[in-house]
Each structure stands twice: as C-alpha cells, then as structure tokens.
Symmetry: C2
Subunit: 680 residues, 2 copies
C-alpha cells in the first residue's frame, strides 16, 4: 500500500513537472503550484466581483470574456461580470481591497487559485487583479475535446516596479491605434510604464495650444491632439499603465527650432530633419524665451499627463552650436559654468523648477546626472558599461549617488538582436556592491523602440514578441533564466499577441505580397524564416541611406529578429554533429531540400516584380550551398567539385545583402566542415 | 506602303486593346485612350501644384508619394509636393480651379494625361484631383525591370453624385481606426458618402454632452467622443467624403430607451438588446420630452456633422407599443392621425422642423415617404420591388413624387452575396419611365454594412473587395457590365486595398491560426477558398443563435463571399464539360487531389484544437467526393461503387454545415454527372 501511494505521488509529481513545462506563462510567476485538474470552459462561465469594483475592473473583465470567447469559440452566455451580490457561486470570483494608484512602488501583487470547479482572484489593488486576469488567460489550455484553465495556485508580484516600453513617435509617427494595441500587449505581459518619446529632430508630435507653431510647423501634420493624448492616457490607465511623456531638450530639438528658430543657439533657420543621427541644432539655455516656451508647453502637458515623472531627454547634446555662440560662452563665464555639461545642468535645474511648480519630477537620460543635479531627478541609464560615466555603469552610479534610476542599456530593441541578448540583462545582478537602500533605487527597466527604421506597418514586429522576454526579466525572479524554455513560451505568447491585435505576424505577409506583386509568397516566407535584418545600427549606415519617408516595405522589413527556422536549424545541426542523430539528419535534409528548391521558385516569380531583382542573391546563394550539401550527404565519398563549391558558396552567403543576414550561416559552415570531414 | 501603315496601326490597336485589358482600373473611367509608352517611376519623381493648393491636396499628394514609394520600393527623393513656382517641369503637374464643396452634385470631374515624360492632372475642383490621383495609382504597372505609369489620356466624372457606404456601428462597435481605414478604401474607389449608422437597439454610439446618459447607459462604454467624431469627419473631408450621421427613430431605439425609459411608448424599463432582429421598443411621439431630448441631441450633432443631410432612420417601426398605449391611441384620434404611419409622419415632420433650425434636411429609410412628408426629405430606398411601396420600387416612386432618393436595395453587402449580384444592380436602368427631371432626383446608391455578425476583426472582409464593384456601378458608365472583366480587376483592387491598410486578407489568417491553435493553416486556408458563409440572413436564424458578444472567430468568419477557388473551379468545369479541354482537365484533377488530401491533414490537426471538431465534416465530405471523382477519372469504365459513393457523397456536401456552404457544390454535381455519363 505504501508503495502504491509512492507510485501515485511520483506520477503526480512528474505530471506536475510535465505540466509546468507545458504552461506558457510569461512573465513566469514568483510562486506556482500546478494541480492535476482542469476547469473546463463552458457557456455558463461567469464572473463575480465582490466588495469593491472599479471602472478598470469592469473594462478588464468584459475584455477578458471577449478574449476567452474569441479564442475558444465558446458561446459564453453572460457577456459582462456581475457583482457577487447579484450572483451565487460565480465561476471566477474576484476581490480586491482598494483601487491602485499609478505610482512607483504601488502594490501589484495577486493571488490566483484555479481548481476543477472554481477560480479565485484576490489582490490588494485592482492592478493586481488585472495581472491575475492576464495570467488566467495564459492558463487556457486545451485537449481535443475542450478548452480549460489548468488548475494552479499562484502567488505573484513583480520584482521591479518600473517595467516600461518606450516608443519613439518622432522619427516615424504612430497613429493612436498603434499605440493602443501596444498598450494592450504591454498589459498582457504585465508591463506598466509607457514612455512616450514625443519630440525629436524629426518631429514634434504634441498639439500645443499655447504655441501652436510647434505642431503646425514641426510635425508635417502628424501629431496627437490633446484629446487624443487624454484618450491614450485614459486607455493606458485602464490597463494599469503609467504614461511618461518625453520632450527631448536641449539637443534633438530640430523640430522645435523649425517652429521657433529664435530659441536656437545658432542664428539660422531650421527645417525638420529627414535623416537619422545626432544633429547640431540645440536650444539656447541662456535665452529666457526658451524657458517661456518650454514652461508654457510643460504647463499644458502637466494637465494631460497625470504621472509624477516628466522626461526631459537631455541626451547626446554635443554642444557644437554652444561652442560657436559668443553670447553663450560669455554667459558661461559670467555664471561660472565651466563646461557645456555645467551649462546643461543649469538648464536642467531651471526646467526641474518649472516642472516642480506643476508637481512633476524630472526624468532624463543619464547625461543629466552631473554633480549639481538634485537627487530628486530620475536617471535613465542607456549607455553601456564604461561609456560616459566612469567607474561602472550609470545605473549603479546613480543608485550610489542617491538617484532613483531605470535601465535601458541592454533593452534597445531597435538593435534587432535576438531576445536572449535582452533576456539575460539583469538590472540588479547578484554580484553588485550596492546597499539595500541603493538597490531599492533601481526601479526597473525600459525597452526602447527607436523608430528611425520603423513604420506603423512594421513596428509591431520590431517590438514583439521580444519585449515579452524583457517584461519577464523585469517581473520574474532573477532565477528564471532558462533560455530555451523562454523561447518555447515566447512562441505561444507571440500568437497570443496577435490575438490581441498586434500585427507582427500578419503584416509580414502583407509586405511579401507587395514585394511579389501579389503572387505566391510561400517561397519568400521560407526565406524570412532564416534571414534577419542586419543588427546594431548596421542598416542605414551614417543615417543617410534612408530618409524618414523612404520605403520600409522591403524584404528586410518583412524579416525580424529570432527568425524561426534559424532557431530550429541551429538546434538540429548541433544535435546532429554531437550525436549523429538520424532524426535530426532527416530534418536537416528536409530543410536543405526546401532551400535548394527555393531558387527555382524565385525564377518563376522573378519577372513579376522589379523589387525581386535585388533579392535574387539571397535565394540563389542559399540554393547553391544547400544543393552542394545535399550532394555531399548523398555521396559515399567527398567529391572534389563539392568541396570547392562549398568553400566558394559559403563565402557568398557570409555577408549581408539587401540589409539582411543569413542567420544560419554559422550552422551551415559547421555542418559543411562536419560533413566534409565525415566524407573525406 | 499603305499596307505597311495599315499593319502598324493594327498592331498598335491590338496592343491598345491588350493593354486596356491589362489595366486594373476600378471604377472604370468614362473615357480612356491608352498609349504605348510608359512613364518610368524613378527616385527623381516629383509633384508640382500650380495656382491653388488646398490642405486636402497637400495631404493627398504626401500620401500619394508614400503609397507610390511603398508599393514600388523606389526611394523617391522628395517626400512632399512643391508648388509650380518652386519647381521647374515637375513629373506630375496638378492644377485645379477651386476647392470643392462637400455637397450633392459638386463637380468631381478630372482630366489625366500620362505620357512618357510628363503627367498632368487638371480638374475644376480639388475633389477631381483626389480622384485623378487614385486613378494614377491604379495605372502603376510593372515589368521585371521597373515600375511605371501606363501612358493614357483619361477624361472622367461620376455617373452618380451619391456613392456611399453605410457602416452600422451599433450592432458591433467599430473603433476609430476601423472607420478611418475604410474611409481610405472608399476614397481609393472614388466613393464619397460615409453614412454612419450610429444608433440602434444594440447601442448608442455618440457622446452626448446634453444627455450623457445616452452614451453612458446605452453603449457599454463603446461610443465615439465628440472629438473623435470631429476627427473622423475631418479625415473624411480630407478624402472628399461627406459624412451623414444616422440616429434611428422611433423604432430601433432600445439603447436610447435604456437611458431614457420615460420617452418610451411602454411603461417599462429597457436594457440594451443583445440579439438581432426587429424589436418592440419605440419612442413615444406624443411625449414632448422625446422632442426635447432628440432636439438637444440633434443640436449637438449639427455642430459635429457639417453635411446638409441628417438621417433619422424611420425603418421597421411595427408600432406594437403604440397600439398598446391608450394615451397614444387617444393622441392619434385627437390629431386626426389614422394610422401608425400617419403618427410616424407627424413625428418625422416635427423632427424635420427641428433639423431645419440647424440648417439640416431629413434623410430617412423609405418608410418615411408618406403622403404628408415634405419633398425636401431624401428617401433612402432599401426594400425590394413590390415590397412596401405599391406599384414599383420606392426609388422610382420617390423620384416621381418629387423626392431626391438614394438606392440601397441590391447593395446589402451583409447578405454575403457575390459581387456580381450587386454589380448588376443599376439604380437607373434604361427601361425606366422617368422624366429627365425625375431621373436627376436619383442621386445614387449606398452599400450597407449591417453589423449583426461583424466585428472589427472581420468587417473589412465583409465590405471589401465587393464594395469596389458597387463603387464602379455608381461611378462608371452603365455600359460597363462585363462581369468577368470586373472580377479580374477586382482581384488586383483587393490587394491594393490591403496595401491601404484594409485587413480582409491578413485577418483571415489570424482567425485560422486561432482555430488551429497556431498550427499549420494551409490546409484550412484551402477550404476557405471554396466555402462561403451562408447567405441572405440564413446565418443566425431568428436572431438568437448569436448574441452581440458571441465569438465571431469561427470558420465562417474566416470565409467570405466570392471564394477565390470557387470562381476558378467553376470556369474550369464549364470549360471542360463544353470543350473537353485537356488543360482544364489537368487543373481540375489538381484541385481534386488537393481536396482529396485535405482530410488526412485535418486528421493530423484534429487533436490540436476542440474548435476543429465542428469543422470535420467540411473537410471529410469534400475529401470523399474528390477521391471518388478521381477514381472515376482514373477508371476506364465506371465502377458501381464509385457511382453509389458519388450519389451519397454529393448529398453530404449539399447542405451547409457550421454556417458555411460549399460554393462548388453545383460544379461538382455537374462534373460528376458528366464523368458518369462519359464512363458509362
């Protein structure tokens, strides 16, 4: 009997592990126990909200029911939640103690319990409930007969209070619906700060009623009205997301100066910048009118953005126009400002004073952290180690100096790096020398979506699904670092994001249909699964290959980081080389055949569209090496011609073409070497 | 010599015809001469606007440049148009005489001339220029080396001044971006009236500042703020589109009565309707408060909607609650109102008076056309011949009586009929008995997108591309009636609509990914190409199978009218049967093989998702009949088993399952009969 019990326990426990591996939760919760039961989703599913309710919870539960019904196809009888006074024994019972405030360090914890027959969510604040509802939707699983919630007990809360996404709407404007669907996606992975980079050299995107020339002359007509801003802030708040506006000064200010050249540091006229990079136009910090205009603008914005923090940028001011301006040099002398840094600090402090009058605190990129900057400022760390700030990263430095701080170095998603590169960046690694108090000043991090090469057609594929991995880093325990498990879960999360309205998958096909002039796109889609856009600012060298209005409907725009077959093929090759696994070999051969055939399909399509002409090498070169590898595999003994071909052909696929790189290059090279040695 | 010239002319002329057939213009222009030259699209392409400019043209030319660059991948140097003072010899020169007014019978004509080296657009109003720019974008063609505009001389103007699309946002709410992208699409096919059905039993979608309970209690939180309405009206105006708001009264008013039960005809409480159909709740036309509330509301709306016309609905009032209400019966007696129709007319006239104070004219569904209704009202004809109005269609009747009128009967796109059914509906057929004056009162037509079964995920596929065929009917000469040529052009237009942001193609895949739980969708996509949603209100019988919040993420929602392989297969079968064409036979066999294989792919997927269970018959039954037909084709002589199977299997595919019908059923039946006879 004892033995039998032992066996059952073992099964349960194994089942637990198996199920745990099957769950596609992201971010992974702090504590989870998985049961063996299932709560079947049926038409009588309903929701009761006890004690309090809030507008936020009303909206979230309605949305929850729509998403649940949409995904499962279950015709749920009740389209809206009840109060627990109205309904006995609801399927899902929600209770919380108070409405959460959208501030740093607010309680976002929740407790979620799913059994065979009931689901309970309890939380301190309604913000915790929002997170619990997202977790619950991620617990939807199915067998062939039904959809169900996997039974589980979850106790969860975030590791960091600041889990942000910055979107740059200056380089390319993003319409309201793009922002809204990204807010939906952020909420789905429990992110809670939307940092809105609203101004830069390429555009000023806020309607100003006090200085309308700002948006009239600085935006090409592409800006948010104040009503739209209010609408977005409200929409974000309903999803538990704070909104931090950024007006980037004194550099990155060409658009402002296009409207008001009189507050520039050089006596010239300005026009909206069309290229990318760091430009000279800079506000004049010695001109009272600068503070007048910014003061009025900040005053308007303070009414639109309820958040305590206001981002004033402050990055990449090279001070060229300051150096060239005699009056500014004189001002520095008179005011004992030794360096341009000191002059910028002078300006920052004046801006901080203006913002303080509106009850706001300054946030700025790490350049604002100079000796005189008050410690009420929040430091946004973005440069790498040993860059800019001496003696350690600006993040630690800031915390040591007494500043609150947020990390973006390592979370630059516009670099087009794989998710792993961001996933493993820990804002607070174990081996730090910080005191508990200093550690507490590290609030979290922000993914940054700079938009030089990004339009509303492609932005979703640049943000998602990778940002979900960053969201996990900022929410989950630092022990959660299993990369292959992260990638496994990310695949499902990616589809869930599409369900929410994110266009990263569907819009790839739209671009491919355009490139092929609406012919068959399957062969081209095959290529997008192994080619990735070139990384780390190697696309658009010097910032002048692309203007803001250049076409971003090219092959590179249909590709994204973490190309799916690239990940699979890498595993197959490693497995085959280390174990000579026959199944892996078969799958490798299947891939090689598909790639080998690709060029014949290209030829069929070639005449359909002139855009395809440029793409020819990526199909042709891949086909060639794949054909050669198949020939080597087929041969008893290595043929000289295959050996020579393989060498030549590897060279051909090594370098990027049309702004993409073959992400399986190293795998093909390894495989070639292995096969050559094998068949020698 | 003479002969030689003759030959050359013949070639030119043939080429002309060939090219004409290759052009995918829609709506087809009134006059077109096609040249043999091409204007190659290169980076130096630019635009000059002479004499006047307008905000509308500035926006349209910028958008034109983006679309041209996006489609062709050409890095056009200049992102914005110039004035002709600023630039010598622009590639495209635009001139017009005055800014067009958004009113009935405004001049929308244009002249477009494309040669090898220059393009010229001239028009009376800037509205004509907008149309010319859309035509020009449709003239973009390509060979394998470059994109070019086909040389042509076009003189064009609309046949009807009212070319509308109605969107019902009451049954299912549509966010601002859905409306905007549909306005873009309307403009692309030269439609110029957006009729916004804003209220119904299922929702009141306008923010009311005078009576906020209307949107607070009548909308589930899903309504347009006044700022959003202004934004949409502005957006439409920039595209030359008038916006007609509709507040549907006295029937279809449950949402209004949910907020203000005191103006209902029955002493009861009301709640927002969740089903579809015709319901009893009706405003009380004898209650002064009814006019007070509507008067205030119309006053607010008059400020938001600049158009002269205001749609007051007026349809499907069955007067049940009027009959049951003693006070109302008494009122009728006192005021000599014999019928409920008379009572409604009494109300309509009072509403017309209110609207007249705001400078508006009444538009209403044809039921408002009663004897006492002033002829300033615009009659919206929607019932079929002999329905409702005796002695001919309400359209002609209205014109005869002196009303201006617009046709929607025949343009009900929610019926899910093929484009041809709408395309051949001529608002003013040749064989009419109307005088010239009466004819002039027939202003045009409107496609109506009723949204009982439509969400923002699927609405685009319900409107487009079929509505482009209606747009052509309303713009082009009545002689343009070649259906197969229309379908050929529609295929390209469909892709162009996707380029503009319409989601009809991409969202089908999203639904299929959801249904399959994100597995391979190709086999399921194959089925969407021959299955269509059941038509003419046979889905959702009685209006109670679906609630407004039921899932519309089912297989039927991924299907649409005019299933693409259905059209092709129909041609193949007809061709094969009439000519025994071997190529057609080959293609038929290829289709049959694909369908025959479908079920084995279904089996592989079956366990992945419970939603698939319901779909099984559509894959299985199709596979069976396809397999049998292949066997018959393969056999020298008909086998008895095949004969018997085919009979049984045809029966199985005859009737709709899961709200879809096999659109090739008749073709398969015909093919079976033919093959059986052949092999007997």
């Amino acid at each position: 009997m004892k033995k039998l019990i032992f066996v059952i326990l073992a099964i349960v426990s194994n089942l637990g592990i198996a199920q745990k591996n099957e769950l596609n939760l992201m971010p992974w919760p702090q504590e989870i126990t998985i049961g063996n039961e299932q709560f079947i989703i049926e038409p009588n599913f309903n929701i009761g909200i006890s004690n309090n309710s809030s507008e936020r919870i009303k909206i979230a539960t309605t949305k929850f029911l729509r998403r649940l019904s949409g995904r499962t196809g279950v015709f749920i009888d009740e389209g809206f939640a009840f109060t627990t006074q109205e309904i006995l024994n609801p399927s899902l019972e929600i209770s919380f103690q108070r409405i959460g405030n959208l501030v740093v360090n607010e309680d976002e914890s929740y407790h979620l319990e799913v059994t065979k027959s009931t689901i309970k969510i309890t939380a301190i604040t309604d913000l915790g409930v929002l997170h619990a509802l997202e977790t619950l939707l991620q617990l939807v699983n199915n067998n062939e007969n039904s959809y169900y919630f996997t039974a589980a007990t979850i106790k969860d809360s975030p590791r960091f209070t600041w889990r942000g996404l910055m979107i740059d709407v200056a380089r390319h404007f993003e319409p309201v619906d793009v922002i809204k669907r990204n807010l939906d996606a952020m909420a789905a992975v429990k992110m809670n700060v939307f940092h809105w980079h609203l101004t830069d050299d390429q555009g000023f995107r806020i309607e100003s009623k006090t200085h309308p020339k700002l948006h009239e002359l600085g935006s090409d007509g592409l800006y948010y009205t104040q009503e739209q801003i209010k609408d977005i802030v409200k929409y974000a708040g309903e999803r538990g997301i704070r909104v931090i506006p950024e007006v980037d000064v004194p550099g990155h200010a060409t658009a402002i100066l296009t409207a008001y050249p009189e507050i520039g540091s050089k006596d010239t006229s300005y026009s909206i910048e069309r290229f990318s990079g760091i430009f000279d136009p800079t506000l004049d910090p010695t001109n009272e009118k600068t503070y007048e205009i910014l003061g009025d603008l900040f005053g308007e914005m303070a009414l639109l953005f309820p958040d305590k923090y206001f981002h004033i940028g402050g990055d990449e001011n090279e001070g060229k126009h300051w150096d060239e301006n005699e009056h500014i040099q004189e001002f520095k002398k008179v005011n004992n400002l030794e360096s341009n840094h000191d002059l910028q600090t002078y300006m920052n402090i004046r801006l901080a004073d203006i913002l303080a009058k509106h009850g706001k605190l300054v946030m700025g990129w790490e350049e604002i952290m100079t000796d005189n900057m008050p410690i009420t400022a929040l430091i946004h760390s973005w440069k790498g180690e040993n860059e800019g700030i001496e003696g350690g990263s600006s993040l630690e430095k800031a915390a040591e100096k007494g500043y609150k701080t947020v990390l973006s170095d390592g979370y630059y998603i516009d670099l087009m790096q794989p998710a792993i590169d961001h996933y493993l960046v820990n804002p607070l690694p174990k081996n730090n020398n910080l005191t508990a108090e200093e550690k507490a000043r590290i609030l979290g991090g922000e993914a940054t979506m700079w938009s030089e090469l990004v339009t509303s057609l492609t932005i979703d594929s640049r943000i998602w699904p990778r940002t979900a991995a960053i969201a996990e880093r900022l929410w989950s325990s630092e022990e959660v670092t299993d990369v292959s498990n992260m990638y496994k879960r990310l695949e499902t999360i990616s589809f869930r994001l599409e369900e929410l309205g994110i266009n990263h998958i569907r819009n790839r096909d739209v671009i491919l249909r355009n490139i092929t002039n609406n012919q068959n796109i399957e062969w081209l889609k095959t290529l997008t699964k192994i080619y990735e856009p070139i990384k780390i600012y190697s696309r658009n060298k010097g910032g002048t290959e692309y203007k803001t209005f250049s076409p971003f409907t090219l092959f590179a725009d249909a590709c994204s980081a973490d190309a799916s077959d690239g990940i699979i093929f890498n595993k197959l090759v490693n497995d085959f080389i280390s174990t000579s696994n026959e199944n892996s070999k078969k799958e490798i051969i299947a891939y090689l055949k598909k790639w080998s055939d690709n060029y014949s399909q290209f030829i069929l399509m070639k005449k359909k569209s002139p855009i395809l002409r440029d793409i020819e090498p990526i199909s042709k070169n891949l086909s060639e090496i794949a054909t050669t590898l198949l020939s080597i595999i087929d041969s008893e003994k290595l043929k000289k011609v295959d050996l020579n071909n393989s060498k030549e052909q590897l060279l051909k696929i090594k370098n990027p073409v049309v702004d993409v790189e073959l992400i399986i290059f190293q795998d093909l090279k390894k495989l070639t070497t292995f096969l050559i040695n094998e068949k020698k």
